[in-house]
């Protein structure tokens, strides 16, 4: 990504340091720029956030938060991990093949993806990654339904568990159509079928030698049927983490826990019927557009409920501003910007102008970069003591947080300005060729510098993770005075069994600062008197 930003800021000049791997003059060629773009999306989504949010956080903390000794299917868990590993190796190996990595964008739209090089390996890698998520999420759902500790009823579950539950359902039901689509595209490439190739397609001045009769739109439908729920797969676990951190550090029960839960479930349902709002420009007709624009507006309601409930939770609290809380607090407005800028994209009329501009990139990245990734950082700082028995350094944490917040906005805010001016995304030269872009292109340098500084700002974090492993402040089982079950387990939890004894649950998830109690928190395991 940082290399791509060089090309955008200083087009057609040699890339410093690593330029020599791109050839004699060290310039980033359009083909490689496209590869990097496609692989950036693929890696971040399918190899980065989903495995981290669902695979790592889900697998580690769902059993802990529901008081289970392990996941329901340990072997399935291993199979999921190794399938992910193979998929990852296959994806990465594509950089080293003669053809190079996929370069048709992470969306892999045909006909381009059917005829452009590098795509075959991408598809094979995807099939492994999809299988991995599928097995993992079956495991998470079964674990939540079957292995809840005695007394842990549905409405006593922490919101994080609910978020993982809905997320896993999305993965189980939305990923298979993409798997089907990947198989079809693989057949198009390998055995010469024409699922996605229309009749009479001309490539480089020559008629393509295929039977034709297929439709590129078919791919888009199958792809977005996955990829829209995928957005919620990316955001829900982060919302879950943020809810945990906020409840803990405001020392108050979450405001509107029930609405949070129902909103998350409703969000899950709705996410299956909004996919074609990515396709307003395909000419699928006004009736279809009207339908999907309506469902899209409806789905914004549960997101707003969740965000509002989390905001109101802050009201009147005496907040502890530790590092996890800072990240959780930053999540709220950042995700808010991401969500609100999505509304103009959800309306067919305004989307026609904004579609495929940098505005879309800005919107999406506000949701997943300072949104989801900040949520995940909050989770890492919050649960690190549980995993290691030591706290992470607060000073280094703040040194990580503040620059990250500033530079994130430095990268993505100008994208809205460029996008509103009509600059298209995925351009190798960033739009130099276009007169209408000339007024806003000077932002590229600013954004690129922000991106590099953001990279630097991650150094304290990386150092902190390793430093605190040895030198961090030693803590007991419940350093944050939290109520949920994971804090009643030893830190780190016992291998294979988590708890010394399966806990019994007597109360709802967030009993903080209730009047008349000795302490300002009451763990879920504490029996009720009388």
């Amino acid at each position: 990504m940082m290399i791509m930003r060089w090309q955008l800021a200083y087009p057609e000049t040699a890339v410093p340091l690593v330029g020599s791997i791109f050839g004699e003059d060290g310039m980033l060629l359009p083909e490689i720029y496209n590869s990097l773009g496609a692989m950036h999306g693929t890696i971040m989504i399918f190899l980065g956030i989903v495995p981290l949010a669902v695979g790592a956080f889900g697998n580690y903390f769902v059993p802990l938060q529901i008081g289970a000794p392990d996941m329901a299917f340990p072997k399935l868990n291993a199979a999921s991990y190794w399938s992910y590993f193979v998929g990852g190796v296959v994806m990465m190996s594509s950089f080293f093949t003669a053809e190079g990595a996929a370069r048709s964008g992470w969306t892999s739209y045909p006909p381009l993806a059917d005829i452009e090089v590098g795509q075959t390996i991408w598809l094979i890698g995807m099939i492994f990654l999809i299988t991995s998520s599928l097995l993992g999420s079956i495991n998470i759902i079964t674990t939540i339904i079957q292995l809840r500790a005695p007394g842990l009823t549905w409405m006593r579950m922490p919101f994080f568990v609910w978020a993982q539950f809905v997320t896993s359902f999305l993965l189980v039901l939305a990923f298979p159509p993409l798997e089907a689509a990947a198989v079809l595209q693989l057949m198009d490439r390998v055995v010469g079928t024409s699922f996605f190739l229309p009749s009479g397609l001309v490539v480089s001045g020559e008629l393509l030698d295929v039977s034709g009769g297929g439709s590129p739109l078919l791919w888009q439908h199958l792809f977005w049927f996955l990829a829209h729920p995928e957005v919620y797969v990316l955001i829900l676990p982060a919302m879950g983490i943020v809810a945990e951190v906020i409840a803990n550090n405001t020392r108050k029960p979450l405001w509107g826990y029930n609405s949070l839960v129902f909103a998350a479930v409703f969000l899950g349902f709705m996410s299956f019927i909004v996919w074609a709002h990515h396709m307003f420009l395909t000419g699928m007709g006004t009736a279809m557009s009207a339908f999907f624009q309506t469902t899209t507006m409806i789905i914004s309601i549960p997101s707003v409920i969740i965000l509002s409930a989390l905001f109101i939770s802050l009201w009147g609290a005496s907040i502890r501003f530790n590092t996890p809380m800072l990240f959780a607090l930053a999540f709220l407005p950042m995700f808010g910007i991401g969500g609100l800028t999505g509304l103009p994209l959800g309306f067919a009329a305004s989307d026609i102008y904004l579609h495929d501009t940098y505005y879309v990139i800005g919107h999406f990245h506000y949701v997943v970069a300072p949104g989801t990734i900040f949520g995940l950082f909050a989770g890492i700082y919050y649960w690190y003591p549980k995993i290691t028995g030591r706290k992470m350094s607060e000073l280094l944490g703040k040194l990580h947080f503040w620059p990250s917040l500033i530079f994130m906005n430095g990268i993505f805010m100008p994208m809205f300005i460029q996008g509103l001016a009509g600059v298209s995304r995925r351009l190798w030269d960033g739009g130099l060729e276009y007169a209408h872009a000339s007024g806003v292109l000077h932002w590229n340098e600013f954004m690129s510098i922000s991106a590099w500084l953001l990279g630097l700002a991650q150094l304290p974090f990386i150092f902190n993770v390793f430093y605190s492993l040895k030198r961090g402040e030693k803590v007991k089982n419940n350093p944050w005075d939290a109520t949920t079950l994971e804090w009643s387990a030893p830190s780190p939890p016992l291998p294979h069994v988590n708890f010394e004894k399966i806990p019994e649950v007597h109360r709802v998830a967030y009993e903080y600062s209730l009047p008349g109690r000795k302490r300002d928190f009451t763990p879920q395991t504490e029996p009720k008197k009388g």
Binding site: I138, I145, P176, V183, L184, T193, S211, L222, F225
Partner: protein
């Protein structure tokens, strides 16, 4: 500490873990084939009127009908093998499981004959969109049969030792394998009319 509910049912859900797991897996399979079925519908509407029917005339309906019967029979023998275990009759289980595998093999042989006769007539997936989706759907279904056969074979010979040590868990496993097998059967029951008859 053991993982709870691997064999016995959890009282409030009435399920043991693996049964829930297989239903979730089957739900995802429904979505997988659902995606392909929608592709079929999409392509059929996109083709010239009547073309899909005309292209499909090359298919061998009697053979496919016979194959449908074979697969339904295999579902019946699959249930019988599970029922035999419930009745504590291990020998009968072996017999019925063997018959299930035989049916599955028969299905694949007939499918092989169908495929090769298509290739002999120079019909390939690349011929037109009908054969593209025909080969995609039946090929994926065939892979599911093969996968199922591997699992069933494991329970037939090498894995059946478990009957002596943990009979209840073994019976559960056969039930779950059976659920999968019926699902694969069901997919074929949808495939047969839309590909051969319509």
């Amino acid at each position: 500490m053991e993982i709870p509910y691997t064999v016995e049912e959890r009282p409030d859900t009435g399920l043991f873990n693996a049964k829930l797991g297989i239903w979730l897996f089957l739900a995802s399979e429904v979505m997988l084939f659902g995606g392909l079925f929608s592709a079929y519908i999409f392509l059929r509407f996109g083709a010239p009127v009547g073309a899909f029917h005309e292209w499909g005339l090359e298919l061998n309906i009697p053979l496919a009908t016979f194959n449908t019967l074979i697969l339904i029979s295999s579902s019946v023998t699959m249930i019988m093998s599970w029922a035999s275990l419930k009745l504590n009759e291990f020998k009968k289980y072996k017999l019925y499981m063997g018959l299930t595998l035989l049916c599955a093999l028969g299905f694949l042989i007939i499918k092989y004959i169908e495929y090769t006769s298509k290739f002999d007539h120079h019909i390939y997936p690349s011929t037109n969109t009908f054969y593209a989706i025909y080969f995609a759907l039946t090929g994926l279904h065939g892979l599911h049969i093969i996968g199922g056969m591997i699992v069933l074979y494991y329970f037939w010979i090498p894995g059946s030792k478990m009957w002596n040590s943990k009979p209840e868990q073994f019976t559960n496993r056969i039930e779950i394998a059976g659920l999968y097998w019926h699902f694969v059967d069901l997919v074929w029951i949808f495939l047969f009319p839309i590909l051969y008859l319509l």
